[in-house]
């Protein structure tokens, strides 16, 4: 078991991501930050706050629960609980930045993309993740990465956030 990131590392990573977003998009015009439930949502709010501190404008945010778009619903035993989805503004022609805590197989992002498209037609969709642990099963790539970590498929990567876990850290548990 090892600590990949402590609270300072997380803060620095998110700050860097915020700057990268501004640089890549030449400002914050038309940006909407959408977090993927549940921890992606907290990270999205932090990034939105950072963007406001840097550029001065309030950034629109939303949250997405991708449960209904999962590709494994028919094979799992019980239907999972569905959390809230809130996309309060029209995303047509906006730059949507999807935010999640860990990027792994890419299936969650695929589901999020399908759901997002049902809400409208963004000009551009970009992806920001706190941790990229490799082992993609679909052709999905993150635009902004907090930390890239090579892992084995039987390792477990856990992200803890102050908002619900009372601390900020990223832990890896090595598998057998």
């Amino acid at each position: 078991m090892g600590k990949l990131m402590d609270n300072i590392a997380i803060k620095r990573a998110l700050t860097r991501i915020a700057h990268e977003i501004i640089e890549k998009n030449k400002g914050t015009k038309d940006i909407v930050i959408v977090g993927i439930q549940r921890r992606g949502d907290f990270i999205a709010n932090r990034i939105a706050k950072l963007l406001k501190e840097i550029e001065g404008n309030k950034i629109s945010t939303g949250k997405l629960d991708i449960t209904l778009y999962r590709d494994d619903l028919s094979s799992i035993a019980n239907q999972p609980i569905i959390h809230k989805t809130e996309i309060p503004i029209n995303i047509d022609n906006k730059v949507v930045i999807l935010v999640d805590d860990v990027l792994y197989t890419g299936r969650t992002i695929r589901a999020a993309l399908d759901e997002l498209i049902d809400f409208g037609r963004p000009k551009r969709i970009q992806l920001a993740v706190l941790v990229d642990r490799g082992h993609r099963e679909l052709p999905i790539k993150a635009d902004y990465i907090g930390k890239s970590i090579p892992t084995n498929t039987n390792d477990i990567v856990d992200v803890y956030l102050k908002e619900i876990d009372k601390r900020d850290e990223v832990i890896i548990k090595k598998g057998q």
């Binding site: 209904l68 778009y69 799992i76 019980n78 239907q79 569905i82 959390h83 049902d118």
Partner: protein, 313 residues
């Protein structure tokens, strides 16, 4: 709390946890119905069959819309068509459905116990959309979901159900559902429309509406069927209306924020005045909207579920 049952046949057999699971699952589906694109994919590739031996526009349509919003394929069979008219038994219908590998069946039938009969013989999930006078679970669930939007808690909530209790599946399901969530249910009807052994149900009984109405938080009106008059169950619609109709003057006697509910379709002027049905106390249209969300939740939950208990190979 996870959903484990293959079918939804009665409210009586559900636990408080299972009822709450359905109500909680219905909430995100209410949000989906407010989106522009009201469709989500979880039941993609699934076949849902509406098997209605009794006519119904609204319940069948509600289930159809719910299924389609979940991306399922939906088909409807009603008794006026084909093989049921030719006298095909329910048993043979069950065998055929099983052979065609239908995934879910929504069934309404005039015989109590018919959905249970079907559920025992096919692997598909069976949802009871009303079996005779026995139960109508999704009606109860959408009623509870609507109440959830309008009250702080079910605990101690005083609900009065008015109408033909004896022959009402809506009353039975709601009595179980409300009681399990902590509400206190009363019924009000002429003695001929109250079952002989009513004390086996957890309700208080009133014969006089004006007395019953005073302290209730929710008044639930049942549809009165004129055919009942023939058998001496009550003398005339006029007499029924004088005693049991929910009109504006009776609304004044009730609590100020009383909630008025009705399963539909309404006999305007008989059990319920148009004024009251359209008043701000009425949540009748919300019931209809929530009906789709609740039915989506039911279809969603039954779609997963423990399909390991195969009945036939």
């Amino acid at each position: 709390m996870k959903w484990e049952k293959k079918d939804l046949i009665t409210i009586e057999e559900l636990s408080k946890g299972e009822i709450n699971l359905i109500l909680e699952t219905a909430e995100p589906f209410k949000e989906i119905l407010r989106r522009n694109i009201k469709k989500v994919p979880p039941l993609r590739g699934r076949t849902v069959l509406n098997l209605f031996y009794e006519p119904s526009t609204r319940t069948a349509t509600s289930f159809s819309i719910a299924a389609k919003r979940l991306s399922a394929e939906i088909m409807s069979i009603s008794t006026s068509t084909s093989s049921v008219q030719k006298g095909e038994t329910l048993l043979d219908t069950a065998k055929n459905l099983e052979a065609m590998k239908v995934d879910m069946v929504v069934m309404r039938h005039l015989c109590e116990g018919a959905p249970k009969f079907l559920a025992e013989r096919i692997n598909a999930s069976v949802i009871n959309a009303g079996d005779g006078n026995h139960e109508h679970p999704t009606q109860c669930l959408l009623d509870l979901s609507t109440l959830k939007e309008n009250v702080k808690t079910f605990n101690g909530l005083k609900v009065l159900i008015v109408g033909d209790i004896r022959h009402s599946r809506v009353a039975r399901s709601n009595i179980w559902g409300l009681t399990k969530l902590g509400a206190k249910v009363s019924v009000c009807a002429p003695p001929t429309l109250i079952p002989q052994n009513i004390d086996v149900l957890p309700v208080d009984v009133y014969y006089h509406f004006d007395e019953a109405i005073k302290d209730k938080d929710v008044i639930y009106l049942l549809r009165i069927q004129r055919e009942r008059m023939k058998k001496g169950l009550f003398p005339s619609t006029r007499e029924y209306m004088n005693l049991f109709s929910m009109d504006r003057s009776r609304l004044k006697e009730a609590k100020k924020n009383v909630i008025i509910m009705h399963p539909g379709p309404i006999n305007r002027g008989v059990e319920l005045d148009g004024d009251v049905a359209d008043s701000k106390n009425s949540v009748i249209l919300n019931q209809v909207t929530n009906g789709v969300a609740v039915r989506m939740a039911v279809l969603y939950l039954l779609n997963g579920g423990n399909k390991n208990e195969k009945i036939i190979e």
